[in-house]
C-alpha cells in the first residue's frame, strides 16, 4: 500500500475512532498502530463519552508516547477541565494547577506507600477469603467473584463508604460509568433507570445519547445526595477514614473544604477508585489464561526473593494492560507538531495507545518483566499522576499473588463468554475453569 493510501486509511480510522464503544476493543491495538504509524495526531469525529457528561463529539487522538507526555506535562496548555460535568468538575481530576496542587497536598499524604502499608494484612485476609470461596467451584467468574469485590470493598472501607452500602455503590458506579460501553450490568441498570424516569427504551437498541445523559445525571444526583448524608454522619461521629480526614483538612493550611469541594472530591474518589484495579486484574488474568509461558514466568517471580524484579514485573503488567483514556482541553490556539489545535479542542491521550509506542517500548506488545527502561504512562504522567498508584500496586500484587498461588492453572471457560467493555475498558465478567 502506498504512503498516501496508508494515510487515507488512517484518516478514515481516525474519523470513526471511538474507544468507548465495545466493538473498538476487537481491533484496539491494530487501530492504535495504524494511527501511530500514519497519523499520530489524528482527528476523530466519533469520540464521545456520554456517560461523563457529553460535550462536543470529536477531538484529537494522540498515539505517540512523546506527544502524550508533552500534553500530560503541560497543564497550562492542556487543561483538565475537559468535559461537561453533571454537577461540578471532579476534584482534583478536573482542576488545573495551582488549585490542583493545593488539593493534592491534602490528598497525597492519605495515599502514600506508608499509609497504604497499614492495609496490607487486611488485603491478604480479604483476598484469601474471596479466593477460597471462589475456588470451591471448578468453574467460576474471576471478575464477579474476585477482581471486582476485592479492590472495591477495600476502597469503600478506606474511603469510609459503609460496607452495607456496597451493592448500591457498585450499581451507581456501573450505571454512571458503563451505561453503553458493552458492560451488561451497566446497560441493564441504565435501561431500568430510564424506564423508572418514564423514558421509552427499546432494549435491543439500548439508550440514546440523550437518554444516557439523563440517566447519568439522575444517578450522579443520587450519589451526591448519598455523599451529603455520609458527610453529615461523619461530622457527628468522625472515624479513621478518608471522609473524616477530608472534613478535618485545611486548604493551603488555612480553611476547611467547602461542602461542594468535599462532595466533588468524594465523587472523584468514587469514579477513580472502584473500577480501575478490578479492570486491570481482569485483563491481566484473561491474558494469563491463554498465555501459560508468561503466567508461569510471573509465578516464578512472585515466589522468588527479588522485590525489585517483582516491582518491575507489576509495572510491565500495568503497561501492557493500561486502561485509562486521559482527556484534555486545548487552552489556546497553537500548532502541535504540524497540526493546528484550536482553543477548546478536545485532546485524548489513550495510555494504552502511547504505552505501545515502539520508539519508547521496543516490541511493545510483548510482556517483558525485565523491560528496561519502562517509563510507562499507565498511572498517567505529570501533575495528575494517579493518586491511588501505591494502593493500586499493592492491590495488584496481593490479588495476583493470592489467586495464582491457589490456582496456578486455569483456562477460559469454553462454555461461557467474557463480557468486555470499552472506554476505561475492562471486563465485567471473566468465566474461568480450573486446570
Amino acid at each position: 500500500m502506498s504512503d498516501q493510501e496508508d494515510r487515507n486509511r488512517a484518516v478514515s480510522e481516525a474519523r470513526d475512532f471511538n474507544p468507548y464503544a465495545s466493538e473498538f476493543l476487537e481491533r484496539e491495538f491494530e487501530i492504535y498502530r495504524t494511527l501511530r504509524e500514519h497519523l499520530p495526531v489524528a482527528r476523530s469525529e466519533a469520540m464521545i463519552e456520554p456517560a461523563l457528561g457529553g460535550g462536543t463529539p470529536g477531538g484529537w487522538v494522540l498515539t505517540r508516547y512523546d506527544d502524550g507526555c508533552e500534553v500530560l506535562t503541560d497543564p497550562d496548555g492542556f487543561s483538565s477541565q475537559s468535559q461537561d460535568y453533571a454537577v461540578r468538575p471532579w476534584i482534583p481530576q478536573a482542576i488545573d494547577p495551582p488549585m490542583h496542587t493545593s488539593y493534592r497536598r491534602i490528598l497525597n499524604p492519605m495515599f502514600t506507600p506508608d499509609a497504604m502499608s497499614k492495609l496490607e494484612p487486611h488485603l491478604y485476609d480479604y483476598a484469601n477469603e474471596l479466593a477460597d470461596r471462589m475456588l470451591e467451584k471448578d468453574s467460576f467468574d474471576f471478575v464477579a467473584d474476585y477482581a471486582d469485590p476485592f479492590p472495591s470493598v477495600i476502597f469503600c472501607e478506606l474511603a469510609g463508604f459503609p460496607a452495607e452500602d456496597y451493592r448500591q455503590i457498585m450499581d451507581w458506579k456501573n450505571v454512571i460509568m458503563h451505561p453503553s460501553d458493552g458492560h451488561e450490568r451497566g446497560r441493564e441498570l441504565a435501561i431500568e433507570k430510564a424506564r423508572s424516569m418514564d423514558l421509552e427504551v427499546d432494549p435491543s437498541e439500548g439508550l440514546s445519547t440523550e437518554q444516557v445523559l439523563a440517566v447519568s445525571a439522575a444517578a450522579v444526583g443520587e450519589v451526591y445526595q448519598y455523599f451529603q448524608g455520609l458527610l453529615d454522619a461523619r461530622r457527628q461521629d468522625p472515624r479513621d477514614d478518608l471522609v473524616s480526614r477530608l472534613l478535618a483538612a485545611r486548604f493551603d493550611g488555612e480553611r476547611p473544604l467547602t461542602q461542594e469541594e468535599l462532595e466533588d472530591t468524594l465523587f472523584l474518589l468514587f469514579m477513580a477508585g472502584l473500577d480501575t484495579v478490578a479492570s486491570a486484574l481482569g485483563l491481566m488474568i484473561q491474558d494469563f489464561a491463554t498465555n501459560e509461558v508468561k503466567r508461569k514466568e510471573f509465578i516464578t517471580i512472585l515466589e522468588g526473593d527479588d522485590p525489585k524484579l517483582l516491582g518491575q514485573a507489576i509495572e510491565e503488567l500495568v503497561r501492557v494492560h493500561s486502561i485509562v483514556l486521559l482527556p484534555r482541553r486545548v487552552t489556546r490556539e497553537r500548532s502541535f507538531h504540524g497540526t493546528r489545535f484550536r482553543a477548546d479542542d478536545g485532546v485524548l491521550v489513550p495510555t494504552q495507545g502511547i504505552n505501545r509506542d515502539p520508539e519508547q517500548f521496543p516490541n511493545p506488545d510483548e510482556l517483558d518483566y525485565t523491560r528496561f527502561p519502562n517509563r510507562h504512562a499507565g498511572f498517567g504522567l505529570g501533575p495528575h499522576r494517579c493518586l491511588g498508584i501505591h494502593l493500586a500496586r499493592r492491590e495488584l500484587r496481593v490479588a495476583l499473588q493470592v489467586f495464582l498461588q491457589k490456582c496456578p492453572d486455569f483456562q477460559v471457560d469454553p462454555n461461557r463468554k467474557a463480557n468486555r467493555f470499552g472506554g476505561m475498558k475492562g471486563l465485567a465478567t471473566l468465566p474461568l475453569v480450573k486446570g
Partner: protein, 63 residues
C-alpha cells in the same frame, strides 16, 4: 557519583524507589527524596537504572 531529584519535575511515580530503595525514598507527600546525595558504590548501577526509568526525567546523576 552524586544524584539529585528535580523537585519541579518529580511527580512521585516511585519507579526509583522500586529499583533503588537504597538511595531513594518517599517524603510525606509521596514525592521522591534522595537519602544521601553521595552514592554508595554498590548502589551505583541500580541508581543509573532508576535515573533512566523515571517517567518525568526528574533524576540527575553527576560525577
Amino acid at each position: 557519583m552524586k544524584v539529585r531529584i528535580d523537585k519541579e519535575a518529580c511527580q512521585g511515580h516511585g519507579q526509583c524507589v522500586i529499583l533503588c530503595p537504597e538511595v531513594f525514598e518517599y517524603d510525606e507527600q509521596g514525592f521522591g527524596v534522595v537519602r544521601n546525595e553521595v552514592l554508595p558504590e554498590a548502589a551505583e548501577r541500580d541508581c543509573e537504572r532508576a535515573e533512566a526509568s523515571c517517567p518525568e526525567r526528574a533524576i540527575h546523576i553527576t560525577g
